[in-house]
């Protein structure tokens, strides 16, 4: 995905919601009606078979309407049915798990019948993958997760300008999808990998940040360069002022914590992930550019300059060439290489003549050099920018989502391929 064609729409995603998801905290859940429980599982199986991946259809709407408590029980039942799909004769643990009641003998028998029927008709892995896609689609197409209530495994924080403005339940559907992909291993790893990349990109494009999702993806596919890259981007975003301010000021219910580290720790992790991405795929220029930016933020302009100079951006999208020029300019400026910095900023301004950042950078550079007339000239160029054009032509404003510019295309490709 780093090398795909740029999507201008991504640059317009300035100001999207930043949703931070939290680590788990398990609490009590009321017991469910025994018959309703199995009936719900059966409805889920039907919905899974009928659901058209990538759409919001009647099947996904039905499952999306179920309560959080019902879904927690279903999550348990899905794992059991997944086991039975693979091994029809496998034993079923009848003892209760935490607050989820144990199966009755009738329920056990019904579960076996369902597994046998659906495995025969659908193939066990294909059914699990379809189930995972169903849950993922619900998580993406039903943003409302309901009010925060006792028993939520996770909550999410909505922030505006670094201020937490709301809490709600985190969508349990993401976790259910992950569990089903886990259950379909290793046969369905190829589709799982594509799903993780596409959904992680989708989350980043919508500024819905979920640390757990990428962490689990990396555990499954530790040598995937794109997942390492997206992880680096995520930590780079976490180090930014908005997420840091949110993490410091959000007032959370007892027992919950935000999975956000300090700025310096997030930058350190971002560097680690991006370096690993480059180790796995040295040709991933976008990772090199991002690494340069992270190194600048870590106060290492020499390392940043060397990293950026090694990036060949000739065949990259114009936005990436722009970031490369701006970051290299910043590194050169920090190293006192004024002419090289000026040249880099000027190159950026040539790439995006109606972007404001190059003029600000050139002006500030001149100011530091005591070149007052030049600084004023660059400021004049900034003010001369047509107000309408600058609104849509500054890549910097969408830097934080640029890495995910092809998320929708990745999802479309995933959904159009036959499910194995």
């Amino acid at each position: 995905m780093p090398r795909s064609t740029s999507n201008s729409r991504a640059r317009r995603l300035v100001g999207a919601a930043a949703l931070l998801w939290l680590a788990y905290s398990v609490a009590a859940l009321a017991a469910d009606d025994p018959n309703a429980r199995v009936l719900r599982l059966e409805r889920w199986l039907k919905a899974t078979v009928r659901h058209e991946p990538g759409t919001r259809d009647d099947s996904s709407r039905e499952v999306a309407a179920w309560s959080y408590a019902d879904l927690r029980v279903l999550r348990f039942d899905e794992i059991v049915i997944a086991k039975l799909l693979h091994h029809p004769g496998a034993s079923i643990r009848v003892a209760s798990q935490r607050d989820i009641p144990a199966y009755t003998a009738w329920q056990v028998g019904r579960l076996r019948d369902l597994a046998e029927a659906y495995a025969t008709e659908n193939g066990h892995n294909r059914l699990l993958v379809r189930g995972a896609l169903l849950h993922g689609d619900i998580a993406m197409t039903n943003p409302a997760t309901g009010a925060l209530e006792s028993g939520n495994d996770g909550i999410r924080v909505q922030s505006i300008d670094g201020e937490a403005v709301g809490l709600d339940a985190s969508p349990i559907h993401w976790q259910m999808a992950r569990l089903l992909f886990d259950a379909a291993r290793p046969e369905s790893d190829a589709v799982a990998r594509r799903w993780y990349i596409a959904t992680a990109a989708w989350m980043q494009s919508r500024e819905q940040h979920d640390t757990t999702h990428l962490r689990h993806a990396r555990e499954m596919f530790p040598n995937d360069a794109v997942l390492q890259f997206l992880s680096g981007c995520q930590q780079e975003t976490y180090a930014g002022p908005e997420i840091q301010a949110t993490a410091k000021t959000a007032v959370l219910p007892a027992g919950y914590h935000l999975d956000i580290e300090s700025e310096s720790a997030a930058l350190r992790d971002a560097e680690t992930f991006l370096r690993r991405a480059l180790m796995l795929d040295p040709a991933m220029t976008e990772a090199r550019i991002r690494l340069g930016h992270v190194l600048l933020a870590r106060g290492r302009p020499q390392d940043a300059a060397e990293t950026l100079r090694a990036a060949d951006t000739a065949n990259e999208p114009t936005e990436l060439q722009y970031f490369h020029a701006m970051f290299l300019g910043q590194a050169e400026e920090s190293l006192g290489r004024v002419e090289q910095a000026r040249e880099s900023y000027t190159r950026a301004s040539t790439l995006f003549p109606r972007a404001q950042s190059p003029y600000l950078a050139l002006g500030a550079l001149a100011t530091r050099r005591g070149e007052r007339a030049t600084a004023l000239k660059e400021t004049q160029r900034l003010f001369d920018l047509p107000a309408a054009a600058v609104e849509i032509d500054e890549p910097w404003w969408s830097y934080r989502v640029m890495q995910a510019r092809n998320a929708d295309a990745l999802l479309a490709a995933l959904f159009s391929a036959p499910i194995q």
Partner: protein, 285 residues
Amino acid sequence: MTRTRLGAVLVGSALLAASAVVRTQEVTFSSKVEVVRVDVLVTDKGQPVHGLGRSDFEIKDNGVDQQIDLVSFDQIPLNVILAFDMSDSVAGDRLERLRTAGDAILGALSTRDQSALVTFSHAVRLGAPLTTDVSRVRTALSRATGTGSTSLIDGAYAGIQIGESDAGRALLIVFSDGLDTSSWLGADKVLDAAKRSDVVAYAVAVRSPAKPEFLRDLTSFTGGRLFEVEKAEKLEAIFVSILEEFRQRYLVSYTPRGVAREGWHKLDVRVKRGGTIKARPGYQS
């Protein structure tokens, strides 16, 4: 930063992009002599001290006594630059109060004073260049709308540069109510620009979870003052008080002697008869 806000930004962009009229504005820049100017507020028990002359002041530049060339009080026209946050969070009632406060300060200017308006959301725009025509600034302020994220640091830099563009005595008033989320420039670069400038920056920050560290530093380095307010209700009174305080300041100027030209110059300003001094702590050259 909600999806709702995203929609608003997109709609706004589309409308602007469709506009056939592209408006550009000009700023006239002039050169400046190599004289150091220091705006000094002298108070005694909280009240401004008037009637001071050249012989009443002492200035040390990096510890070296300087001969003061001129002390002016209420004689030089002001260049008042308004740098206003026009991000999403300013929309609505807060924007109305900001407009009212802006109108009030513009109304308090003399005919010789100039004013300018810079607005910043994610984009930095020159609403009106330095002009004695207050109505032009008023019109620009009335047309400004709140949308987008916040490039406070970029906006402050643009305000400083407008102050630097004219030899007049520059007062920069920055208003912001949020966290900087989209500036390209780092705070260090803009603070460096402020240290090299004669502009005195005052700032009004509506309290938010983000501490206004940049504005605190900016006002401190330029000898101005930071006002932190809970709400925007008192903006008008604060803005007018800023102008009144600035008018009470002496402009002390000297040509540096016996000090190296380059680098940071620590300033020590005193009044022989005593009093509380507020002035910039130094300058960068």
